[in-house]
Subunit: 465 residues, 2 copies
């Protein structure tokens, strides 16, 4: 079969057809290898075992970058390097919280990332309970003076994780909003969908026009407990956080490329982030993402020849503290036009079940080819354009005009684990990780070995059907 | 319908038949009320909210006993009192564990109950990994000198919880066995079936002929991590435990009775335990059990008249440290003969799906009546005799000859939570709790308002078919 094809494809009239068949063969081959190869999973297992937690700016993150770069070199990537830029390194210290009235009960707590510490003895105060974040916003100025504000709004579980965007406002903006109303500290119900005594951390961002107050999350069962207590009478909390922040510490982004054999200046960018919160080992967030992208590229690296265009794997540093996207864009602004398309894997290893392409690319030969490749993997091509490509691509896309793709993963259980001590290797299903690798490898190879021009298709999207 | 029955039952010839029908009515009524009543669930919710953790010998356990006694009095129990006896109160202190080589990673740890503390600076040593407890037992004397023994045997999940008995040996006996072989400390994989970063505590019992070494459990994901590390090379741990033990502190058992209207000296005993480990709030272990038993008795207390025999609810103190069974038997040895039958609920609130009666009672009118009552609740009467009735009944049964019943609950997920910080109210399904209450209420009423004599039936079991 293969011999026949190779011979007959020498006839010019058959080249287009044969090219399509050979392409389909390669894609099927990549998908099969994704299933049998353990390279991607081993990458993730070793990253979480040999390195572990990788807080942006930490020595562990530095070690992870060196480790990942070595791994890419060993895997045969053509060009591997590390880019660095300064960030504030925030290190968690001892932390404790408890209900002190009506009766002492311990709470499972985690300081929010980049929260300030409490005074040395901690803070002891009565709470004001808000069952929604909006209720806190509705509280008048001064109404929280001397109190700890406690927002117990619960995150809603959804397959696509949409509940996160709603619930996370209390974490990101809540501390300053509580401070503006006089609060001594903000405690939130964890932004997470589980019911374990494990708190979810995550970045908080202080507003410039408000005092910086300590902020922490308690676990869902603890928030339930306090709601029940508060229904009976006043509740007092003790909160003590001993974090420290160090400015101007380097964070590290690892880049590895498979240089295109014909048009190396045209780049298909596959992103994930190497940094993680430090409570867990960053397995689903985002060890899985970098393992998926490196694993997909590794399958292509092992093909007999490089695709026509360059495939670039970028393992961003400092995504969790919201510094990666702007830094990468600032450093690479001049090359944005050479990036054909970018995609990011940053939603764990849940199965991919749908795909969105840039506007204008939703039909045509490329889309049909990709749809045919993804359908056997259980992925639908949606008839709507991609609009969100991952946090690290935000500046490339919005400022740099880089087209993006979005492969939707099943995140039903992602926020049970996200930003917790529970983010460990056992939460990743090797078969689901392999499906992700198969999808990204298929996409990367089809795009890098073809000549689809998303910018041109998008420009024509207004006129052509 | 009810009027007709009441009238016709006045005719002596119909009394037996009508008694059966009235009995069935009462049982159906109790089951319906179990479904609609929130008394049992409220008991559990308030116990976990207003009291929380209740370590044997702690002030909180004392408060819980006073609280529970008041609750039973308010519920109309005829006789409520508290019995106390001295135990050693073990209080958890600060505790920390980490891998220190090949690379530092924190571990989720919990000291085993009644473990001794480590020296002030903690213990730092290389581990010897045993993938089974048997492998540790097979290690020669002196072979663990200067090491931390680490047993990573995993507990097997089973509906009836049978994996616990296998895995728990490492926790109960392991520290002394490791000490006999020279170990500085024992660390075990948690005896639990979950994969969360939450360690499972539980009692350890030191042998008289071995040094007392510190002992702790790490979470399942942490044990996985160490197994992966150990496959690559030597692993060192740091372990620091600061527990304290205080001897001769009182523990408390709460007793409440519904006095029988005809034969008050014949007692149907319903047990559970009020004490709990202190990491969680003791919701499934065993707040649920005492709520179920008290909830069942409360439904009977609300009937127009007391049953013929006495129903006694016993909320044992110090079950978790294995002191309740002997203490209760010692204090009540003389009355053992008056206890018609005893049952205990100490396996969470998972649905009851089977029932075992004492030998000799497996057929006959009583068994048919009970089977008919339980079938609509989704419970099979098994054709095999009960042999285990709950830890607190062990001495009553084995030394005192008290017949026992066993209602088998679905414990598929029980050991995900058991003895952890995760043992909180949200883990209890109110509908499943209500089914348990319905089963125990049906059993208690049928047994207390009848005249079944399990001892006589068992004595005849060898001869009669």
């Amino acid at each position: 079969m293969k011999v026949f094809r190779r011979l007959s494809c020498a006839l010019p009239a058959l080249m287009v057809l044969c090219g399509g068949a050979a392409t389909a063969d390669t894609v099927a081959d990549l998908a099969a290898k994704a299933k049998s190869s353990t390279w991607g999973y081993d990458f993730l297992a070793d990253l979480t075992t040999d390195i572990g937690p990788r807080m942006a700016g930490s020595p562990a993150e530095h070690a992870a970058a060196d480790w990942a770069a070595l791994r890419l070199r060993q895997a045969g990537f053509d060009e591997v390097h590390i880019e660095k830029f300064p960030v504030t390194y925030w290190a968690r210290g001892a932390e404790e919280a408890s209900v002190t009235a009506p009766r002492t009960q311990p709470l499972a707590v985690a300081a929010l990332g980049h929260s300030v510490a409490t005074p040395a003895g901690g803070i002891d105060a009565e709470i004001v309970l808000f069952k929604s974040y909006q209720a806190l916003l509705d509280a008048p100025a001064g109404s929280l003076k001397g109190k700890i504000a406690l927002v117990s709004q619960r995150m809603v579980r959804a397959q696509n994780g949409e509940g996160y965007g709603v619930a996370v406002r209390a974490r990101v903006e809540g501390p300053s909003e509580a401070a503006k109303r006089g609060a001594l500290a903000l405690v939130i119900r964890s932004v997470g969908t589980d019911n374990h005594r494990i708190a979810h951390t995550g970045l908080t961002i202080y507003a410039k026009d408000a005092p910086k107050i300590p902020a922490a999350a308690i676990s869902n069962p603890d928030a339930d407990l306090i709601e029940r207590m508060a229904a009976k009478g006043p509740v007092k909390l003790h909160l003590k956080l001993e974090n420290k922040a160090t400015e101007n510490t380097d964070t590290f982004t690892v880049v590895g490329e498979l240089r295109g054999r014909e048009r190396p200046d045209q780049v298909v960018l596959l992103g994930g982030h190497l940094d993680s919160w430090e409570l867990g080992t960053g397995a689903i967030d985002d060890g899985a993402g970098v393992a998926i992208m490196a694993g997909a590229a590794k399958l292509i690296a092992d093909l007999p020849q490089r695709p026509k265009r360059t495939i670039r794997v970028v393992m961003f540093g400092a995504e969790e503290i919201d510094k990666a996207a702007e830094a990468y864009y600032t450093a690479h602004r001049g090359e944005a036009g050479s990036i054909v398309v970018a995609g990011e894997s940053d939603f764990g290893a849940g199965k991919i079940f749908n795909a969105e392409l840039p506007a204008g690319a939703l039909d045509g030969a490329y889309a049909r080819q990709l749809a045919a490749a993804l359908l056997p993997l259980g992925v639908d091509m949606l008839n709507k354009p991609s609009h969100e490509g991952g946090a690290d691509l935000e500046f490339l896309h919005e400022q740099g005009g880089v087209p993006i793709v979005d492969f939707g993963q099943d995140g039903t259980h992602y926020f049970d684990i996200h930003h917790t001590a529970d983010d460990t290797l056992d939460k990743v299903d090797p078969a689901e990780l392999a499906q992700n690798i198969a999808v990204w490898a298929s996409f990367a190879w089809l795009t890098a070995d073809g000549d689809v021009d998303f910018r041109a298709l998008s420009a024509g999207a207004g006129t052509a059907k």
